[in-house]
Amino acid sequence: MSPSSLAIEATGLVKTFGDTRAVDGVDLAVRRGSVYGVLGPNGAGKTTTIRMLATLIQPDAGSAQVLGHDIVTESDAVRGKVSLTGQLASVDEDLTGRENLILLGRLLGLRRAAAKERAAELLDAFGLTEAAGKLVKHYSGGMRRRLDISASIVVTPELMFLDEPTTGLDPRSRNQVWEIIRALVAGGTTILLCTQYLEEADQLADGIAVIDHGKVIAEGTPAQLKASVGSGALHVRLLDPQQRGTAERLLERELGSVILEPDPAALSVSCSDPDRAALAVAELSRSGVRIADFSLGQPSLDEVFLALTGHPAEEGPTGDGSGQDLPTQRETSIEKEQAS
């Protein structure tokens, strides 16, 4: 692939905070015009990677070219072509939606009248006209995200960084954000999308890098990635957590290796065949295991991680009081600190 066809080309990026190597040698190659998903749990180093590429922080080692410009020596040129939608909504809560967009328009060089006109156009396109005069702190999560994204395209960027754009959104708002992202891509913008959700990466991305503890542990198309973990999973939640042992044995016999989820009443198992899943569920109830609900869905991030790394994405509060989750949490808080 020739360098000019790459929007992002990163080699060996490293960022250390204290003792933690938040990003530990990340390589990325993102084609122009594509959506590239960076998939990983909290604290994996996604946000730190984005912040380096968006020139907010400098890498301790390694280098990267964004749209042909070095992120350290030509950071100003990079800033002239990209836009960032951060994990925390990157809009000013104490201003109205309209004021936010006018502010950005002015800062990007639009004249007063043009900035106003552009703000009105975006508010209208993103269904925010009625809320335009309200302070952003009164917006719902979905409205805030839409404003955030519209703020990123006041002047259409060549490359857009989206850091967990749908975390905390209800399904309807999430779908709206997905539609907007698709429209952006159709318009020719390259997108680097950080997400915790495999489904999101699957829906939007052309290529995915799975990142854990600051390292890229797998890379490929969504199809390749899913193939590596099986294309689906049966999730079962029991009425009585006491019966999980029995359920685990039965499901293992029917379908294979079972994952115990953080919820003490829940378990899941890799399975792509609806018929076999139905039989396994029937087997459970025949054996007196009482089921609260079950579903056949895509593999979760947990399953991807288990398949790729042999450990779950994040240790949940499983009740055994193990300190295993401490490193992950510490890393998360450090990353958040740096983000603030």
Partner: protein
């Protein structure tokens, strides 16, 4: 269809996708904003915040109003013989104090800003790097003017009459605001170094409070023990309040004014680049 904008909006973006596409395609990148234009835009942002969150102004005006009333009527008779005479002495000093206290809030506001995602966006924009800082201090300067005006109006209501009239009062206020602009860079530096807004507030007042009281704002330094007196004489806040008294009365000493302007320039020269560096590093 009527929509309550504070609840989840049900407008289906699906129907607006054509508009979204059009909005995406319809921009050509304009030439970059000039440094001045970017700074003024951030100043405008500061103004909007005063408009939307007027309580912030209340914080910084109530304390000086209380001090004016308390010192004038509680201590005025004891210190200067009569409350009217003391008001003449203290009002320019209170003006200095109230505006200087406001500068601490510039650091607090910057620290609060940093906890929000919007700063990441500002820092990712192709703009002159110090413009967000310079702009918010320009906006803050308007707040300094408001805080100072409140005190002068209160003084006049209580019977204070500046010898040099409105012009004197305006000149004094101008000098105080210029000095405060320089001083506020110290607090923005603190705002970037310390962890929380309350830490900035505490550290700021820990510095500004003793410095204000160990000046000639409240009492004539000739009544003080000699060690204290020599400190008060060189305290820039004393020189600032002497200069403001002079401007209000129409007999200002040019040297005092020059010293005040030099200190303001010095503080800006040291702390403005420091603040910018810290802000850039994030």
């Amino acid at each position: 269809m009527s929509i309550n904008p504070t609840t989840q909006l049900d407008t289906t973006v699906a129907t607006d996708l054509a508009a979204v596409r059009k909005a995406i395609s319809s921009t050509a990148r304009p030439p970059r904003a000039s440094a001045l234009s970017a700074a003024l835009t951030f100043g405008w942002r500061g103004m909007l915040k005063v408009k939307h969150v007027p309580e912030q102004l209340l914080d910084v005006t109530i304390t000086p109003v209380m001090f004016t009333l308390m010192f004038t009527y509680l201590f005025g008779g004891a210190i200067a013989g009569s409350t009217a005479e003391y008001l003449d002495y203290i009002l320019p000093g209170i003006l200095v104090m109230s505006v200087l206290f406001t500068t601490v809030y510039s650091g607090v506001a910057l620290n609060t800003d940093l906890t929000k995602g919007v700063v990441d966006r500002f820092r990712s924009l192709p703009i002159w790097r110090p413009s967000p800082l310079l702009g918010s201090l320009l906006g803050d300067s308007v707040r300094y003017v408001i805080a100072g005006t409140v005190i002068i109006v209160l003084g006049v209501a209580l019977g204070y009459r500046p010898g040099a009239g409105v012009v004197g009062a305006v000149l004094a206020l101008g000098l105080v605001v210029i000095f405060s602009f320089g001083l506020s860079w110290v607090f923005t530096t603190l705002g970037l170094l310390l962890r929380s807004p309350s830490a900035v507030m505490n550290a700021g007042f820990m510095g500004i409070f003793p410095l204000t009281f160990l000046s000639n704002v409240f009492v004539d330094p000739t009544t003080l023990p000699s060690v204290l007196e020599s400190f008060v004489e060189v305290n820039p806040i004393s020189i600032l309040s002497t200069a403001s008294r002079g401007l209000m009365e129409g007999n200002a000493d040019g040297t005092d004014i020059a010293i005040v302007l030099a200190v303001a320039a010095g503080l800006t020269a040291v702390f403005a680049p420091l603040t910018t560096r810290l802000y850039r590093k994030g």
